[in-house]
Amino acid sequence: MRRYLLLILIFAAGCAQRQAYFVVLPNADGSSGAITVSDGQNSVLLDKPYAASEEKRGAVTATTSDSQQVQQIFGSALAAQPILPSHFRLYFFRDTETLTPESVVEYKKVFEDIKRRSVYQVEVIGYTDTLGTQQHNQELSLKRADAIRDRLVHDGLSATSISVAGRGELDSAVPTAAQVSEPRNRRVEITVR
């Protein structure tokens, strides 16, 4: 009889073991996003820094965590985190692939950023304002991206690490009507990751 009791106790303890643990971490600026955790029956919304959830016996419940606990469980994973992607915006004179003087300065920051990374990939996407035909702008946006790619390669980056695309008038930084000259839309966006 005692043996059975012991078995039941072991079984219950085994079942109560944590099957999964989830925690929201603060962003660099202290804010946080949100996750939902579901066991198929119930779901828990976690939308604050260190809001946590654990799953036991197949059921998820809300709990909380703190930086010390997170470090204990996730320290190695967090230490392996890559440097986050960086974004740069370069602007052009109207209907040209010529950078504005401010953007020539900004361009140099790309190299500062890459120096921090052991390996890198660079994405260059060109855009235009809405002045001119869509076809012309599609071509112009690609020319801008190509010009920046060539310049990056000339200044020492590996061509195989760079991808380019031209988006023409799409995805304006500042939405405008058709045929509007808008300096903030005449741009190339660079992502370094």
Binding site: A20, V23, S76, A165
Partner: protein, 151 residues
């Protein structure tokens, strides 16, 4: 022999077409390995290769870290993921269209620990990015979170 010159040109063209079709038949890389420490392997189909900084990862790859292993990767949608020791992480599904930033991503954490900072896929729709553990599922609205599946 102008005929021979032409033949060589045609052969060249055929080779170029073949090379292109072979390249496009292979699925595109979905991530790049940025950090590795200790023993980390990538299971790709029947192949098991040691993870190296700079190497690409593909959909369906499984990351396997040893007792002293950890790894950090960055996906093409700018999602950043890292895994601690004794972890098994399968890149079950990864679709991303860099033209409109739409995509979907399903990552299986079979055991161990991961930390993720979501990128463009999570912004495309509330259901686009998910992490599965053996018995629960996590939907990502953004941005930084961590998951543990104890052994």
């Amino acid at each position: 022999m102008p005929g021979l010159g032409n033949t060589i040109k045609y052969l060249g063209a055929i080779c170029a077409i073949l090379a292109t079709s072979v390249a496009s038949a292979q699925s595109p890389a979905v991530a790049q390995i940025k950090t590795v420490s200790g023993q980390v392997f990538i299971q790709r189909g029947a192949n098991r290769v040691a993870a190296k900084v700079g190497d690409p990862l593909f959909e369906k790859d499984t990351i396997d870290t040893g007792a002293d292993g950890s790894i950090g990767v960055t996906f093409v949608d700018n999602t950043v993921m890292s895994a601690g020791p004794n972890s098994e992480v399968a890149l079950d599904q990864y679709r991303f269209d860099s033209n409109n930033f739409n995509g979907s991503m399903l990552t299986d954490l079979n055991k161990g620990t991961i930390s993720m900072i979501s990128g463009d896929i999570a912004k495309s729709s509330p259901d686009a990015m998910k992490v599965k553990t053996p018995s629960a599922i996590l939907g990502v609205r953004g941005t930084h979170f961590a998951v543990q599946v104890p052994e």
